[in-house]
C-alpha cells in the first residue's frame, strides 16, 4: 500500500472520487450544486475541471426521480455516485431506495444490480435546526439489501468510498460534516478499505466503546483522558452498519465485559439498540454490567446553541457513563473531565476544531 500523508476527511473523499472516476469511465457524480464554489464540503475540488459536466452531472432539484434515474442507470452498468448536502433531502426518495435499490437484486432473483452510492451529509453545525441535522443511519440499516457505511477516519473516507463505488450493491454513505475537517493519514492512489465490518481503533480492557463516524474521534480523545485516570477503554469504529458484523464487538465484550454505544442519531431504535440487543443475546454471560447507550436527546434538533448544549453525546457524558460502569471514584472522573476540557482548549461546544467556520 502506498505511503500515507495527512489529509482531512473531505480531501480524502475527494481523492476517492478522483481515483474512481479516473479508473472507471462508468463512474459519474450526480447531485445538486455538486461543483459549486463550496465544492460539496471540499470533496469535489477540481473534479469538474478534470471530468467535465457529463461526469459531474448537475441535476434538477428532484430527489425522488434523481434516485430512480441513478438506479436505472446502474441497472445498465453505470456507477452513479449521488451526493446530497443533507441526509434529509433523501427523505423524498426513500421509496426508490427501500423498494428499488435495496430489493432489485433480490426481487429479480439476482438478475439485476444497482451499484449506486448515495452520499448523505449529516448537517451537525451551527443552528442547522430540525430539518437539517438528522442522521438516520438506523433507518437505512433496517433494510436488507442496502449497505450502510459511516467512515470516521480520513483513511476510511477515501478507502471505504472507493470500496462503495466498486461494490455491486447499493451503498448509503453517511458523512458527518465534522469528519470532513478531521485530519489523518491517507495513502496516495487507489486502495480499498473493505466494507466488511468494524475495526478496533484503540485497545483496552475495562470497557468496549462502540462509536460511529465523528463519535469515534471523540471517543478516542475521551479514551485518552480515561486512560490517564487508569480506565482502559477499547474503542471500536463501527464503520459498516449494514450488513452488520458484530464479531469484533462480541470478542471485545468477551474481554472487557462492558459495553457503551454512541449513536450519531437518536437512541430509540438506533444502531446502539441493535448492538446492545445482539450483545445481550450473544454475550450474555460475559457481561459484567448493564450495557449503556448514548446518542441524541430524544427530540428534534433545536437551532439555538443554548438548546444543543447537551443534545449531542458529549465527552463528559461518556466519561460519566464509563466511570459509573467500572465503578470509578469521583476524583477519577473529575480528573478525566478536566483533561478533556483542557484537550478542547476552551472551544465552545458547537465548534469541532478551529478550522470550522460554520454555519453552512
Amino acid at each position: 500500500m502506498p505511503e500515507a500523508r495527512s489529509l482531512n476527511g473531505a480531501e480524502a473523499a475527494r481523492e476517492a472520487l478522483f481515483e474512481s472516476m479516473e479508473r472507471d469511465p462508468d463512474v459519474f457524480m450526480m447531485g445538486e450544486g455538486i461543483a459549486d464554489h463550496g465544492n460539496f464540503f471540499g470533496t469535489t475540488n477540481g473534479l469538474m475541471e478534470k471530468f467535465g459536466s457529463e461526469r459531474m452531472l448537475e441535476m434538477p432539484v428532484a430527489e425522488n426521480a434523481m434516485t430512480g434515474i441513478a438506479i436505472g442507470a446502474a441497472m445498465m452498468g453505470q456507477r452513479p455516485v449521488m451526493s446530497l448536502q443533507r441526509v434529509e433531502f433523501v427523505l423524498l426518495a426513500l421509496e426508490q431506495i427501500f423498494d428499488n435499490a435495496a430489493k432489485i437484486h433480490y426481487a429479480t432473483n439476482g438478475r439485476h444490480k444497482a451499484p449506486i452510492v448515495i452520499r448523505l451529509v449529516v448537517g451537525r453545525g451551527w443552528g442547522q435546526g430540525p430539518h437539517h441535522a438528522q442522521s438516520l443511519e438506523s433507518v437505512f440499516a433496517h433494510f436488507p439489501g442496502l449497505k450502510v457505511i459511516m467512515p470516521a477516519l480520513a483513511r476510511d473516507s477515501k478507502g471505504m468510498l472507493i470500496a462503495a463505488i466498486e461494490d455491486d450493491s447499493p451503498v448509503i454513505c453517511i458523512e458527518h460534516r465534522w469528519i470532513h475537517f478531521a485530519k489523518g493519514p491517507v495513502p496516495e492512489g487507489h486502495y480499498v478499505e473493505p466494507l466488511d465490518g468494524p475495526r478496533v481503533r484503540r485497545e483496552g480492557s475495562d470497557v468496549t466503546i462502540v462509536a460511529t463516524s465523528y463519535a469515534v474521534l471523540e471517543a478516542l480523545a475521551t479514551a485518552e483522558a480515561l486512560d490517564k485516570v487508569g480506565i482502559s477503554a477499547e474503542v471500536i469504529d463501527l464503520r459498516v452498519l449494514r450488513p452488520l458484523n458484530l464479531d469484533l464487538v462480541k470478542k471485545s465484550v468477551a474481554k472487557t465485559g462492558r459495553l457503551v454505544t454512541i449513536d450519531t442519531g437518536w437512541i430509540t431504535c438506533g444502531m446502539g439498540s441493535e448492538i446492545v440487543a445482539t450483545v445481550a443475546q450473544e454475550c450474555f454471560s460475559e457481561l459484567k454490567a448493564p450495557p449503556q447507550r448514548l446518542g441524541l436527546a430524544d427530540y428534534p434538533t433545536p437551532s439555538s446553541r443554548s438548546l444543543v448544549t447537551d443534545y449531542y453525546p458529549t465527552p463528559e457524558a461518556l466519561i460519566d457513563c464509563v466511570g459509573e460502569m467500572v465503578g470509578a471514584k469521583s476524583e477519577q472522573m473529575e480528573a478525566a473531565r478536566a483533561d478533556m476540557a483542557e484537550h478542547r482548549g476552551g472551544l465552545p461546544h458547537d465548534v469541532p476544531n478551529p478550522t470550522f467556520q460554520g454555519p453552512f
Binding site: E54, N64, A74, K147
Partner: protein, 327 residues
C-alpha cells in the same frame, strides 16, 4: 407531434391482431383459473387494453427496453417476454421470471428488454428514464418505453422524470394508458378538467393523443415516437385512451362488482381493440372464420401448454429464499 404515417403492411396488421388475441386468451385463462387459488398472488388483468401494449411493442426492436406497472401482463407478452416464465411466476414456481420472488407484479425478461414491471405507482418511471440516460451516455441507440397509467400523472415522480428526460433529450417514449380509472375512481375525481396531454406538453415532450383501442393507430404513432427518440430527437408522450374490463385486481368483470350495470359494461366492451382490427382484417380479406379458428387453436395450445408447464413446475427451494440479498 409530427405525424409519421407508416404504410402499415398486412403482415404487421395480422401480427398486431395475433398478439392481441394472445394476450386476451392468456388473461382469460388466468381469470378462469384464478378461483382455483393456485395463483396465489394479486393479478391486474389488462384485457380490453391490448391495443396499446401490442401497438407500442410492435414498433420496438428486441434490444429496446420497456418498463411497466402493476398491470403489465400485456406489455410483457407484447414485448415477447416468455409466457412460461410469466405463468410460472404467477404460480410461484422456480422457473418464474424472477424465481417466484415477485409474482404478477414483478415481471421481467431481460432477453427481450422487459426490464422492470413494478407495483408501486410511478416507481418504474425514473428507472426507465435512468436506463435511457445510460443508453445515451454509452452512445447506444436503444429506445426506452415507459408504460404508465393515468394515475401516474398525479405522482410527483412522473413530473420529475419527464423534466429530466426532456432536459437531456433522452430516448424515451412515455406511453400513458388512460383508462380513466385508478382503482375505481374516475379521472374527474382526481385531476382537474383539462387534457392530460397539456402536462406532457408543458414538460416539452412531443405529444400525441390517440385511441388506445386502435392498435394500428398506436403502432403508427409509436413508430414516429421511436424514430424520433432513436434519432436523438428526445422524448415523446403518447396518451392512449382505453378502458379496462375487469376489476382493478382480480378476475371478475367490473360489472360483477356492481361498479356499473351489465349494459354499461357491454357498451364499453363493444369498443374492443381486437374486434376493431379483426373487422378491418376481415374486410380486407386477411382474416376469416377459418383463419381465426386456426389462430385461436394455435395460441390456445401454446397457452394450455404453458399453464401445464407452470402448474407442474417445481416450487423454488426454501433454502434459496435468502439468496441474492447482496450482489
Amino acid at each position: 407531434m409530427e405525424k409519421h404515417v407508416t404504410q402499415i403492411n398486412d403482415e404487421t396488421r395480422l401480427g398486431l391482431y395475433r398478439e392481441m388475441l394472445r394476450i386476451r386468451l392468456v388473461e382469460e385463462a388466468i381469470a378462469d383459473r384464478y378461483g382455483e387459488q393456485e395463483m396465489r398472488c394479486p393479478v391486474h388483468l389488462s384485457d380490453g387494453q391490448e391495443g396499446i401494449a401490442v401497438g407500442a411493442c410492435m414498433a420496438l426492436r428486441k434490444e429496446d427496453k420497456i418498463v411497466s406497472t402493476h398491470r403489465s401482463h400485456g406489455h410483457y407478452l407484447a414485448k415477447q417476454g416468455s409466457l412460461k416464465a410469466m405463468l410460472c411466476e404467477i404460480y410461484g414456481r422456480a422457473p418464474g421470471c424472477v424465481g417466484g420472488r415477485g409474482g404478477s407484479m414483478h415481471l421481467l425478461d431481460d432477453e427481450v428488454g422487459v426490464l422492470a414491471c413494478l407495483p408501486i405507482v410511478g416507481t418504474s418511471v425514473p428507472l426507465g428514464v435512468g436506463v435511457a440516460y445510460a443508453a445515451k451516455r454509452k452512445g447506444e441507440d436503444t429506445v426506452v418505453t415507459v408504460f404508465l397509467g393515468d394515475a401516474v400523472m398525479e405522482e410527483g415522480v412522473f413530473h420529475e422524470s419527464a423534466n429530466f428526460a426532456a432536459l437531456h433529450s433522452l430516448p424515451v417514449v412515455f406511453v400513458c394508458e388512460n383508462n380513466d380509472l385508478s382503482f375505481y375512481t374516475s379521472l374527474e375525481v382526481r385531476q382537474p378538467d383539462r387534457p392530460m396531454t397539456d402536462i406532457a406538453k408543458a414538460h416539452t415532450l412531443a405529444v400525441c393523443e390517440l385511441d388506445g383501442n386502435d392498435a394500428v393507430t398506436v403502432y403508427e404513432a409509436m413508430n414516429g415516437a421511436v424514430k424520433k427518440a432513436r434519432g436523438g430527437g428526445g422524448p415523446s408522450f403518447l396518451m392512449c385512451n382505453t378502458r379496462r374490463w375487469r376489476e382493478h385486481c382480480g378476475p371478475r368483470y367490473d360489472y360483477e362488482l356492481g361498479q356499473m350495470t351489465e349494459q354499461e359494461f357491454e357498451a364499453l366492451r363493444a369498443d374492443c381493440p381486437m374486434a376493431k382490427l379483426g373487422a378491418q382484417l376481415r374486410e380486407a380479406g386477411l382474416l376469416d372464420d377459418a383463419g381465426e379458428d386456426a389462430l385461436r387453436a394455435e395460441l390456445g395450445k401454446e397457452i394450455e401448454e404453458a399453464f401445464e408447464f407452470a402448474r407442474n413446475a417445481p416450487f423454488p427451494e426454501l433454502e434459496t429464499a435468502g439468496d441474492h440479498v447482496y450482489a
